[in-house]
Amino acid sequence: MCMRCVEISRRSLLVGGGALVASAATGVAQARTRPADMVPLIGPGFRPTETDEKGLWQLMDRAEEEISGSNLLVKEPELVSYLQDIIGHVGGPAAKDMRIYLAHIPDFNAMMFPSGFAVVFTGLLLRMRNEAQLAGVVAHESGHFLRRHMIRSWRDQKRKSDLFAIGAMAAGMGGAAGGVYLGDYVQLAQLGTILSLFAYSRAMEAEADAMGARLIAEAGYRPVEMANVWEQLIGEEDASARYRRKQRRRGSLFDTHPSPNSRMADLRLSATEVTVPGRIYDDRRARYLSKIAPIRQMLLEDQVKLNDPGGSQYLLNTLAQDGWNGMLRYYEGEVWRLRNRAGDDARAAQSYAVAVAYPDAPAEAWRWHGLSLIKEGRSNEGKAALGRYLRMKPAAPDAPFIRQMVG
């Protein structure tokens, strides 16, 4: 979906814009893409036969080699096989051919590469409320592959000379080991730049949505969850922007994707179309939560510590629609504490106090609860809370300092 490919957007805005004009002229953009029309264009075990596509795959193989060896990948075997299992269910005919990698990057993003491997960012896992939502995003990405969007857009735009550009980029990544690279926020994201050469048109995004809806419905997931993902994302973007009193992020997903409201409407309509009366659909929330449980705190930590209060608050409230717990309340406190405006210390203190009332409160909640109490002048209670923290996490990195405070 490349939902937040900021790097991509500037270029693809131009490229995709051109494609949009072209399709609008022929009337293609007017019609809604229906899931029923979305037939996979490739079968199992697909390999390219034409020269340009073969060349592309070769380069992608190198890119994949780079990625699979990156130390930014989360390699927890359970989690990786879980993601592989999902793509195996919603990957249509190519289900067994596609690979999926989880990159430790706190942004909302997922991307499919022309040779059939997908990269999912950990920030995506944080934002999904259930497995159906995750499956929806993965299915959308599969849709790009199954509909051969990369090679189609490549050929449509007759930008074959850019193959050299890709080659150069792949070489650049190889060269990184030799210390000759110009760093980016995340090297992996350079692959986002590669993707920008394929600039999906809005029509293609609509196709991937429709294809995705069909794939998740066939796999038994509640189809409407795809629309919900979209709604959550719009909400988060707006909340973050409103907070900073400015327009949505420049170069945001809205540049390359259909207008948000019409897209949401289309997704809801598609969800209705692919729903078979009498069939039972599931969101598999419990399974999702148990699978990501080992990294949930890391995911929250990554997001909240970026100190984007508007976005983080929205996100916590969204996750809390399924019920507040000690972990979420603790991170709510962290949002306030890091924001650090007048009165925020009191707000944070209140969240910590609520957090520790839950049995699942992380040890850190006790630490900040204790420190807040001490600042309020409630020294004894504060020290007791810090003591609790130390008992829960005797080997905590800051234990030496906290011990000194407790005295």
């Binding site: 130390n71 760093g183 926020y185 984007d308 508007g310 890091l338 800051d398 300092f401 405070m405």
Partner: protein, 208 residues
């Protein structure tokens, strides 16, 4: 994707260093720091480096603030030493716009060591491009003759390198004093840590 200022700055370095106006003039990016008592930051702290270092012009990670000064031995990609001297309450470690979606928290004079450590962690995530940040140790330590703290940490950055760091700091009269050392974990950290330790121990507040 946001760019890491740190990394970006490093990428620009070779170009600048090659320019004819570079070395040896006031327009250079570096200035030699000799082995003699040297005032740092806003001039309120003096340290005695055990060997020559390079002082950076204020264009990098903690940039263009008069309370903050950066040094390096081998270039900011590999190692860096940051002095924060007498940062007043309500100020930031870095220059940033209010509209930036991700913010380095503001310093307040009532911050405790765990809060200061968390502030640094967020600075690395927001401005240093760290995708993973591990606190290793937070313990009491005297700094400038005042009760302060020592914070050890490591982080994995977007360029796929692990870096390791140590901060030693104290809040004195409501102002933050901090020395922050950060270097690639595999070699450069161990290489320059002894220098950092010497300076963290000989740093003095100048009483004018």
């Amino acid at each position: 994707m946001r760019k890491s200022k740190l990394v970006l700055a490093a990428a620009l370095l070779p170009l600048a260093a090659c320019s004819t106006m570079g070395e040896g003039t006031d327009l250079g990016i570096y200035q030699l720091v000799r082995v003699k008592p040297t005032n740092v930051g806003n001039g309120s702290v003096t340290v005695l480096p055990p060997r020559p270092w390079n002082k950076q012009r204020r264009v990098f990670f903690f940039d263009s603030l008069r309370w903050v000064e950066d040094w390096t031995l081998n270039g900011p990609y590999l190692d860096g030493l940051t002095f924060v001297t007498a940062l007043p309450s309500g100020e930031y470690l870095v220059r940033q716009r209010k509209s930036d979606e991700r913010q380095v928290p503001k310093f307040r004079s009532d911050m405790t060591a765990p809060e200061l450590a968390a502030m640094l962690a967020t600075a690395y995530r927001v401005r240093g491009g760290a995708v993973q940040f591990n606190s290793l140790n937070l313990q009491p330590r005297q700094f400038l003759g005042y009760p302060g703290f020592q914070f050890d940490f490591e982080h994995l950055d977007g360029d796929e390198l692990w870096r390791k760091g140590r901060a030693v700091g104290a809040v004195v009269d409501g102002r933050l004093y901090l020395m922050l050392f950060d270097a690639t974990r595999s070699h450069y950290y161990g290489n320059a840590l002894p220098d950092f330790e010497v300076m963290a121990n000989n740093a003095r507040i100048r009483h004018s």
